[in-house]
């Protein structure tokens, strides 16, 4: 994932500081990557970045909506027969009524324009199977998934940072242990991991409830299941980054200043290695959304993943399209935030 902003990241002089619109609360960065002087985060840079990003976001959303619509049109078979499924006793009258209600007799172009028109008004349509507005369904199911994703993210980041900081550049055996658990957690299917955790900690030893979304204890196992594979990947990337950073001259300088090993790792090397980590977060968001489908099923949690699974298996296209729009929005938001984070982490990127 390369961002458009990072392409402007070539060597820059120290001119950013004398920009007219310096933010009063602009972030002064202490000890950046070493060579250049401190750059200030100027208002113009941020405004331009945000504006460009917003335009791109609209384009991405339009693309997602169009792709979803075209995919729906390309599905073979009669949409009404698809909605009803193979074992149905629905009468011809019922079929005609469904066709009429969904406006399937309209020309495709009109259907597309109507669809876009409704989207503009924030109307994601009406679920075929659940008979509810799609926006309400997504709205209701969003919180449990956000909770799960945040909990999993916390698990992943904490585990990755601890594992990487503790082992990077250390003894070979220690590193081997760390890469081993990372490899195992990355290669374990989350589905199976979930069943294993449930069997051990809910069926055999009753520490956690089997399923559901009642309170914190029901969140622990799902968050671990979703977070562990991500932690594995993040840990590997972070350690790699740390090890590269630890070989840099500024680390030697810091050591020469008498800083402790931990301070060097936590304050200097970790920051340097974070850029790679942040770049990965786009991929990470995808993992969490996709993983939520499996994890929510195994743990019988409500949420967007469970909704998606139900919609796909009951051929509920408006809900599927709603989820596509939501994922597009999540990706756009996250990559925007990531790009802004680059500016915060790496002063070299703050060129005008």
């Amino acid at each position: 994932m390369t961002s458009p902003l990072s392409s402007t990241s070539a060597e820059v002089g120290s001119s950013a500081a004398d920009d007219a619109g310096v933010l009063p609360g602009s972030v002064g960065l202490g000890e950046p990557a070493g060579r250049t002087g401190p750059h200030r985060l100027s208002g113009r840079v941020v405004a331009r970045a945000v504006g460009r990003r917003l335009a791109a976001a609209v384009a991405v959303l339009l693309g997602a909506a169009t792709t979803a619509f075209v995919a729906l049109q390309l599905l073979p078979g009669d949409p009404v027969a698809i909605i009803l499924g193979p074992s149905t006793m629905a009468s011809p009258q019922v079929r005609a009524q469904i066709r009429d209600d969904l406006g399937l007799d309209e020309p495709v172009v009109l259907q597309y324009l109507h669809y876009l028109g409704r989207l503009l008004h924030g109307d994601l349509g009406w679920s075929y199977q659940l008979q509810q507005p799609v926006s309400d369904l997504i709205g209701d199911q969003l919180m449990p998934t956000v909770q799960l994703a945040l909990a999993a993210l916390t698990v992943a980041v904490v585990l990755a940072v601890v594992s990487a900081v503790a082992t990077a550049g250390r003894h070979r055996a220690l590193r081997a242990v760390a890469s081993f658990w990372e490899l195992v957690s990355v290669s374990t299917p989350p589905f199976w991991l979930g069943i294993l955790l449930l069997t051990a900690l809910s069926f055999k030893v009753r520490v956690f409830p089997v399923a559901g979304a009642q309170g914190f204890s029901a969140l622990v196992l799902p968050a671990l299941t979703l977070g562990l594979p991500v932690a594995g990947i993040l840990g590997q990337v972070l350690r790699e980054g740390l090890e590269t950073a630890l070989e840099q001259p500024f680390i030697t300088t810091a050591r020469a200043r008498g800083l402790s090993q931990t301070a060097i790792r936590a304050r200097h090397a970790l920051r340097h290695a974070t850029v790679g980590l942040v770049t990965l977060s786009g991929w990470l968001a995808g993992t969490l959304l996709g993983g939520a489908v499996l994890v929510e099923k195994v743990f019988s949690r409500p949420g967007i993943g469970a909704l998606t699974l139900q919609a796909v298996s009951s051929r509920d296209m408006p809900v599927v399209m709603g989820v596509v729009m939501l994922s597009a929005l999540v990706f756009v938001t996250i990559s925007t935030v990531v790009d802004l984070l680059y500016l915060l982490i790496d002063p070299r990127l703050r060129a005008d």
Binding site: P86, V94, Q97, K204, F216, F299, S300, P302
Partner: protein, 551 residues
């Protein structure tokens, strides 16, 4: 470990609930979950019931899913009940008269029945419900078929109602005994389809339980209707239900359901995988109930109008060339029974004389294929005729294929290969699958069907019920005798006559027409903890929560 503290707080609450449940069971070990002898059951308590499927919509009048009816059997009552022999008994109707031409049924309704919103249950309520089901705008996918050729409902007086049909319709009483033709409060019917579909307090019936809440992706809670006093006579008690609360939990993963019931986190779990039965058997606190679904067996329908299967000899060869006994025993760990008829044994008019009629006989199957002219062999060992390989198409759609049926198909494929038939078994997406199915472009087609009336044979084999017109005659059978018998069966209430007619249909389609290869009897393996007892299941296969209580 700062995280541990909040976790433990919640844990204590969960543990307390579990201990209460445990202490409530006290000394009752050894009862097998049937009707407890001795002292009257204690009222009160909660039962947690794990289900394998979550309904997409809770409106019984629209939604065709069996699971919706399972959940709402405790919420809505029906006009009549049916017993295991197929005889009807009063429920919300105290008596009824059937017109000699079977075109109208007049019911006398029970006095003093109220919906849980206070609305009285009367003739107008019956009319409002049936009219809504029959209205094409309701888009009823299943309940409307139970009303068949419905024409109208007439309110004769508040306690008398006459339901009329445009032609003779014998299966009506059977339909009227199912939750799908149960009654919602006329007030709730005006709330709009989205409110009813969403479940929760919009679903208002007259039943022993009130639909209190629904949390999507998680659970449904029913609470006791204290005013309930109109249970059917077959129940073991009168008045309100024993339990205060029934919680249905949606645990869609098989191992999770098994784990939940073996660890005591739920009291009842349905649809346990046959492979998990040994784990459950090892647990002395659990009992296993095998519930055979009434209706259509899981069967393979052989297309009588297309390709090689248009020849009856090829169809017979397929019937005889598959070693189903072995396949079913292996795939389902001996838990499911092989089926011999398109109907399951728990369906009224099931013809038991068909049992063991299709013995595995590859030699005879080979001879039949020789007679049909498939005498050549190609390099792969498949039979050929005029240089063309003997191939049968059997498309399938993975999301709609349950219970390891794909593995059964592999077994059949391997057996038929031995007698020289190639089975092409492509996995298709739903759109492509439905397109092929609707136009009859297949040689084999498989399904099972839950509905407790032998009239389903009319849907399966009557020539007017082809898939192109939305029917289930997947074999595209056109047999004038089968047409005559299935139509005569729908036009009489005489049990002996119906039994005779439907027995003839079953024998004809299996033995003479070879239009169907019955595979196995769909069976629900329900695991019940010894902490609860009194769970019964009606002949429609629906769980009855009314007599259920904590042991």
């Amino acid at each position: 470990m700062r995280l541990a503290r909040p976790a433990r707080l919640t844990l204590i609450t969960t543990a307390t609930v579990a201990t209460l449940a445990l202490s409530a069971c006290g000394s009752s070990s050894g009862s097998d979950g049937g009707t407890a002898a001795g002292a009257a059951p204690k009222a009160g308590g909660t039962v947690t019931y794990a289900l394998d499927v979550e309904p997409t919509c809770f409106d019984l009048q629209v939604n065709p899913q069996g699971i919706t009816a399972d959940i709402e059997r405790g919420v809505v009552d029906s006009l009549v009940t049916v017993d295991a022999k197929g005889a009807f008994h009063p429920w919300l109707a105290t008596s009824w008269k059937v017109a000699p031409d079977l075109k109208s049924y007049t019911f006398t309704l029970r006095d003093g029945v109220r919906f849980t919103d206070g609305t009285p249950f009367d003739a107008a309520a019956v009319k409002a419900n049936f009219d809504r089901i029959a209205d094409p705008k309701t888009k009823s996918q299943y309940a409307a078929t139970l009303l068949g050729p419905y024409s109208s409902t007439e309110v004769i007086d508040p306690h008398t109602v006459k339901v009329s049909f445009t032609k003779a319709f014998a299966p009506f009483l059977q339909g009227a005994s199912t939750p799908s033709l149960g009654f919602y409060s006329p007030k709730s019917l005006t709330r709009g389809p989205d409110a009813l579909c969403a479940g929760g307090s919009s679903i208002i019936g007259t039943g022993p339980f009130v639909f209190t809440s629904y949390t999507k992706g998680q659970s449904v809670t029913l609470t006791k209707n204290p005013a309930y006093n109109w249970a059917p006579q077959q129940s073991t008690h009168t008045g309100a239900a024993y339990l205060d609360k029934v919680v249905f939990r949606f645990l869609t993963e098989d191992p999770v359901r098994t784990g939940a019931v073996t660890s005591g986190q739920v009291d009842i779990a349905t649809s346990i995988a046959p492979s998990d039965i040994r784990t459950v058997e090892a647990d002395k606190n659990l009992s296993i109930r095998k519930l055979q679904d009434p209706g259509g067996s899981y069967a393979i329908y052989l297309n009588t109008t297309r390709g090689a299967t248009a020849d009856v000899k090829v169809r017979q060869a397929i019937q005889l060339g598959t070693n189903l006994d072995q396949i079913i025993k292996t795939v389902y760990f001996g838990q499911y029974q092989r089926s011999w008829s398109p109907l399951t044994p728990s369906t009224p008019a099931y013809d038991a004389s068909l049992e063991n009629s299709l013995k595995f006989d590859p030699t005879k199957a080979g001879k039949l294929l020789d007679e049909a002219g498939w005498t050549g062999r190609d390099a792969q060992g498949y039979r050929t005729k005029n240089g063309k390989r003997l191939t049968v198409d059997w498309p399938w759609n993975p999301p709609h294929t349950r219970e390891q049926r794909a593995v059964v198909a592999q077994g059949i494929q391997a057996d038929l290969k031995k007698i020289g038939i190639e089975v092409s078994h492509p996995a298709l997406d739903i759109g492509a699958f439905v397109a092929l199915a609707g136009t009859g472009q297949y040689d084999l087609y498989d399904f099972s069907w839950t509905q407790s009336d032998p009239d389903i044979l009319r849907g399966f084999f009557n020539s007017a019920s082809t898939p192109a017109t939305g029917g289930q005659n997947a074999a595209n059978l056109k047999d004038p005798q089968v047409d005559e018998w299935t139509e005569a069966g729908a036009a009489t209430l005489d049990k002996a006559k119906r039994t005779e007619l439907y027995a003839k249909v079953q024998r004809q389609v299996v033995l003479t027409d070879a239009a169907v290869l019955p595979v196995y009897v769909p069976t629900k393996l329900v695991v019940v903890s010894d902490k609860v007892s009194g769970l019964t299941v009606d002949p429609n296969g629906k769980p009855l929560l009314y007599d259920l209580h904590r042991a």
